[in-house]
């Protein structure tokens, strides 16, 4: 492997992907706000509003509280860096840039690390509201991840039985998908897991029921209460990226079909066509999970949300995984 294929192309791909996903995810936010406004018979902001917000925040004065420590300033940068690193492991309609066997663990780890940096940044501000928000974020995080991990490991293990070269890697989904097993039990299992993933996505991007750590009305913006200016802009961007990445995971698991094959495209054109089609699917998924869910439901209390995630979603994940695994086990 020479330096071009080993280093330069992946880096170039990552940079390109980063620019594209930043724009796409911010534009999605604009679409989301517009759609929710339309649902409530308002006009809503222009589609590019999140971009304007971003630039405005970036140009504003950044205030550092005097009770804060070094992590307050490091956390936004670290979490954006983690999000960018995560892009290299995210399936985007084609195999991730840095795919290797077992990279699912890297994906889950980096996704959790994003939240961890946000929590660290929040508690580093010294603000008690932020601390409450951080405690809630931690509680939600611990509750939501096991359901997702169980489901994704079950699916990957099952797909691994169909014969693939890199088990437990994100590239699995573009070789086999969950629907092609085709037996009734696996279909039911897959549908249950789809439910699990959708709730997981809602709790990951904190909308609807799960808009708890940042709850404006209760604890004054919670986690991000002390953040302003540049750092807030970084956090907003990270949040948008995270929504896109989390939705990409679900799209890759459940709806991995590309269009380049049908259009007869090859090479770069195929990649770009798949990326655009993938983005469309992500937007559709986010429309269902983010916009509708956000417009139609209020938030739960933290105890209710934790209960819901363990007693409902985790059990569903267990059931779905068992159904998926059953044919192989028996």
């Amino acid at each position: 492997m020479d330096i071009m294929t080993g280093v330069v192309y992946p880096v170039a791909g990552l940079v390109g992907l980063y620019i594209f996903v930043s724009l796409a995810s911010l534009i999605w936010e604009g679409i989301d706000r517009k759609l929710v406004a339309r649902m409530q018979r308002r006009v809503g902001p222009p589609l590019l509003q999140p971009l304007y917000d971003f630039f405005k925040l970036a140009s504003k004065e950044t205030i550092i509280p005097n009770t804060s420590n070094f992590m307050f300033r490091a956390a936004p940068v670290l979490s954006l860096a983690t999000a960018i690193a995560l892009l290299a492991y995210t399936p985007m309609g084609f195999e991730p840039i840095l795919t290797s066997k077992g990279d699912i663990i890297v994906f889950i780890y980096l996704l959790a690390l994003l939240s961890l940096f946000k929590i660290l940044g929040a508690i580093s501000s010294g603000n008690p509201y932020a601390k409450i928000g951080a405690a809630r974020e931690a509680a939600i995080m611990v509750s939501r991840e096991p359901a997702m991990m169980l489901a994704i490991f079950a699916i990957m293990w099952r797909l691994g039985k169909l014969g693939i070269e890199k088990p437990f890697s994100m590239s699995v989904f573009y070789q086999h998908n969950i629907w092609e097993i085709g037996t009734p039990m696996s279909l039911v299992g897959a549908l249950i897991l789809l439910y699990v993933f959708i709730v997981w996505l809602a709790s990951e991007i904190e909308v609807g029921f799960f808009n708890i750590p940042d709850a404006e009305e209760e604890i004054a913006e919670g986690l991000l209460v002390e953040y302003s200016g540049r750092y807030l802009a970084l956090f907003k961007l990270t949040k948008a990226l995270k929504a896109f990445i989390s939705a990409s995971l679900i799209v890759a698991i459940f709806f991995p079909w590309g269009i380049s094959g049908y259009l007869g495209l090859t090479d770069y054109a195929a990649t770009i066509a798949d990326l655009l089609f993938h983005t469309l699917k992500v937007f559709l998924l986010l429309f269902a999970v983010q916009s509708i869910f956000r417009a139609t439901t209020g938030r739960l209390k933290i105890t209710q949300a934790v209960d819901f995630l363990w007693k409902n979603v985790f059990l569903a994940s267990l059931l779905g995984s068992l159904l998926i695994a059953m044919e192989v086990i028996m």
């Binding site: 009770t67 804060s68 420590n69 070094f70 992590m71 890297v106 780890y109 690390l113 660290l120 508690i123 580093s124 010294g126 603000n127 008690p128 601390k131 951080a134 931690a138």
Partner: protein
Amino acid sequence: MNGEAILPYLIIIPLFGAFSMPMVNLLGRKSREAWAVIISGATLAVGSAMFYSVWENRGIIVYTLGAKSPLGQANFPIRIVWEVDLFGALMVFMVTLVSFLAVLYSLGYMKHDTGLDKYYTLIIILELGMLGIAITGDLFNFYVFLEIMSIASYALVAFRNDTWEGIEAGIKYMFVGSIASAFILLGIALLYGQYGTLTMSYLALKLAESPSVTAKVALALFIAGLLFKSGASPVHMWLADAHPAAPSSISAMLSGLVIKIGGIYALARILFSIYGASISVKTVGWVIIIFACITLVIGNAMAVIQNDMKRLLAYSSVGQIGYILLGLGIGLAAYGSQTGEIAMAGAIYHTFNHALMKALLFLVAGAVIHQLGTRNLNELSGIAKTMPKTTFAFLIGAAAIIGMPPLNGFASKWLIYESSAIFNPILGAIAIIGTAFCTAAYVRVLYTFFGRPSESVMKAKDPEGTMLWPIILLVVAIIVMGLFPWQISEKIMIPAVKALENQLAYVSTVLGGA
């Protein structure tokens, strides 16, 4: 470099340093400190040179005290031999490295204490005892070095004898530690009575020729004594008192080195190199695994509820010893298979990694205590504001011990998880539960450290250079080792396991008329 030629200097230098310390002390404080640093630095140089030599030659170094050959006129070993394979050499390197950093750290940390000539003498003797354990190939010689190490650590735990807890922990440690040592001595006596030799390799041969009940009784006594020394549950209680009461530089050595050399290393050496061919490794492996599981869960779970920072770290050490024992147990129970090899590699790797990260964490704890005079976590809120470098080091250490990927703890824990999941999924689940507790414990500390600064914390600042440099060096070591996990595993840990499992080579190097 010729490993055999430099091997004696591992003992000569610290022995000379310790025995000349009272005289050097007459020249004043500066020369005493310089002498301690020079001695431990020279030992580090010898230790790393020896490690490199053993690693490069892939051989076993045998050194006979007093003659060219251990055999004399007879056809069996009559002299004390030192025998160092890659596993032993790795331990030597670990001991000399952490001891050097602890001595360096002591310069700043201990400067308000009195009786420091004794302190430096003891710390060098502690290092000497541990080095002796790692290199010896003679069972009674092993016992002597074990006692040198133990007695030095009793004295060092109770070093601050104007505090009640130092004395209390020291007495507790000494009483139960002496009993554990007595077990080991009794085991050695039984073996000597039965087989008439104390050379490990020759004993291994005799044991394989004629196994006996006596040998099994002796083995039980060894395991009991050494599990105590390693702080396994249910005999971990001395550790939770001794680590907080000792000065932090000593806690770093106790937790990073003593429990591993005197416990894990000795256990591995006795089980693999002496008893390997003559017992059912599966049974013994499962005995160790059971203790490992108890240790894992109890140690980590108890760490979560501590309010005392050093006590938390002490319990976390117990928990990490659980991982190492789990690796060791699986390494025995799945002896000769790929799984067993991975588990053992994980155990050795984790031994080394844990020595680095726990030394780091205890040194950080020492810096915090030195600045603020309290170990109570509830009073340490927000030290990230006033002690940023120290907190950053703690963050790295905590992340490494939890096993976060870009740091060194990940690879070693991964090897243990992987092998235990392959060997028996229930063991894998127990290991994961242990990690969950461990994560909870450290996240809780981080939560405190990064919080709102309290009144008392505002006056603190980062420690001085001599205390900061060892911390920085350990952070760098942890990060750099974390960048090349699989290379290290492939080039050092797996060969170390192969050397340990190759009992035949261990025996024949001595008996083959070296």
